[in-house]
């Protein structure tokens, strides 16, 4: 599933590039709508009372759409697919099942500009997600809520509507009696549609 998603994200980025040809060009990160396609890798760790914490790995792909206000991102929507591997087994050869599925998230948070030209942006987002997944190799379907925190660094590509994102996403998944916390790194390619100011 993830290979297909990564290929789809690749095509989406190409579509961004094609669509961007008709878009206004910016020298900085403008206010307004923007979209991005994200690939991320994470290391989740699952905790259960009285048992060892056990690590997994996770690969996910997402598309995001957000409104960027002057110093705030009032709303970001993300939809994507993910795959979490089975965990490492503990001493008793018990482990947590892997799971793969889909996640929908809403985030919000402030954004800052470390340089006067507003070519770079740092954003700190927080939010919540609902995920539906299937335990890998089984016919069992589950759903769970999670909390999200994400630090992001954006840089505008000069004289274009495009920008790149390097992010550190952190997620806390509430899987019934099991808590899974994950931290990782994400890379994204995005396009600003703008709407206010900073046009050349």
């Amino acid at each position: 599933m993830q290979i297909r998603n990564i290929v789809a994200i690749g095509f989406l980025c190409l579509a961004f590039v094609a669509a961007g040809q008709a878009q206004p060009r910016f020298s900085s990160l403008p206010e307004g709508f923007r979209f991005d396609a994200v690939v991320s890798g994470s290391l989740p760790v699952s905790f259960e009372a009285g048992r060892d914490a056990l690590p997994h790995w996770e690969l996910s792909t997402r598309i995001g759409a957000e409104w960027a206000a002057k110093r705030w991102i009032p709303l970001r929507f993300e939809a994507g697919g993910f795959r979490v591997s089975p965990s490492r087994p503990d001493a008793s050869l018990s482990l947590f099942k892997g799971f793969d599925g889909y996640r929908f998230a809403l985030l919000t948070g402030p954004r800052f500009f470390p340089d006067a030209s507003r070519r770079m942006e740092i954003a700190a987002l927080g939010g919540a997600a609902l995920s539906a997944a299937r335990y890998t190799n089984t016919t069992l379907v589950i759903a769970y809520p999670s909390l999200l925190v994400e630090g992001r660094f954006l840089i505008a590509f000069p004289n274009s509507p495009y920008h790149g994102i390097l992010g550190v996403p952190v997620e806390l998944m509430f899987r019934g009696p099991v808590l899974t916390a994950s931290a990782g790194v994400e890379l994204a390619f995005g396009m600003s549609f703008g709407g206010m100011g900073n046009r050349r």
Binding site: E48, S92, L93, S94, F96, A132, G176
Partner: protein, 302 residues
């Protein structure tokens, strides 16, 4: 510092480093894993006899024995209800929390008033002489280990499988003979999102893993065409020990074995023409796996 003192200090430091390395590299003691394996071919009288459960039990004993389990097998008249209960209870003294206990049974199963039972050698006289989920769970609950596994190759064995906080998209009545329904794709189960979230919020993990040959309203079958003559499900479960390691880590988990056996039953039994009448697979069935978040290594091939 004298030269000899320097040597002594170096030697002490090297010894300390060597012992630390040795302590960190020492292999942990292998967990104690016990498998009780039962198969009843020859029930009292002749009308209820099967052909392959004792062979299933013998072959499962072999494959479990070569996969890290200490095994004990009983077949036919030795596989009584009292013997099964006593065998489980007798393990208690030798177990630690990291131990695992597996019970495998091949033979008849039945269902009465929505309760599934498997039928030991002396279980033909009524449901009180059979073994239900609540009974075997009570026997397992006396064991101090965390990993308890029940594998059943019997009719109606899906009645032993609790989907836990998950929704099982493999229907409990799949075959047309059982008035069955078609398999539900996970994507359509996602449509039932609020129900899934409710289940997650109310989730209580069971430490009993159950793998069943069939659904709670399905029959399971044996055939000379599978393995050297086996229960259809068991033949694929035995094959899983060698072929189901999807992530190539030399450990075949219960869910990997389930996936392999389920695919085998679907492809080589449900889809075959000998199982069809007027284009309908009259004897279709699907294995089931309990739905807790945990998984456990079934076959250790390291």
């Amino acid at each position: 510092m004298k030269r000899s003192s320097v040597h002594t200090a170096w030697f002490a430091a090297a010894s300390l480093a060597a012992s630390l390395v040795a302590a960190n590299c020492a292999l942990p003691e292998a967990p104690r894993r016990f498998a009780l394996v039962y198969g009843v071919t020859d029930y009292p009288g002749t009308t209820n006899d099967l052909t392959y459960p004792a062979i299933d039990a013998t072959e499962m004993t072999g494959v479990l024995g070569s996969s890290g389990w200490m095994t004990q097998a009983k077949t036919n008249s030795a596989a009584t209800k009292a013997a099964i209960q006593a065998d489980i209870g007798a393990l208690s003294a030798g177990l630690s929390p990291d131990s695992s206990v597996l019970v495998y049974f091949s033979g008849h199963g039945t269902s009465s008033a929505d309760t599934a039972y498997f039928i030991p050698y002396d279980g033909l006289s009524g449901t009180a002489s059979c073994i239900s989920l609540s009974e075997i769970k009570a026997w397992f609950d006396t064991l101090p280990c965390r990993n308890k596994i029940l594998i059943l190759d019997t009719c109606y064995s899906g009645g032993f499988v609790d989907a836990g906080s998950a929704i099982d998209t493999a229907p409990q009545a799949y075959g047309p003979l059982d008035g069955g329904t078609t398999a539900e794709f996970p994507s359509s189960a996602y449509a039932n999102f609020s129900r899934l979230l409710e289940l997650n919020a109310a989730a209580v993990d069971s430490d009993l893993f159950v793998l069943s040959a069939a659904g709670s309203r399905e029959l399971s079958y044996e055939s000379s065409g599978f393995g050297g003559g086996n229960g259809v499900f068991t033949s694929f479960l035995i094959g899983a020990a060698s072929n189901a390691d999807a992530d190539k880590d030399k450990l075949v988990t219960l869910s990997e074995a389930y996936s392999y056996a389920s695919l085998g039953v679907t492809s080589y039994w449900n889809a075959q023409t000998w199982n069809q009448y007027n284009g309908v697979g009259y004897a279709d069935f699907l294995p089931h796996l309990s739905g807790q978040r945990r998984d456990v290594v079934l076959f250790d091939r390291r």
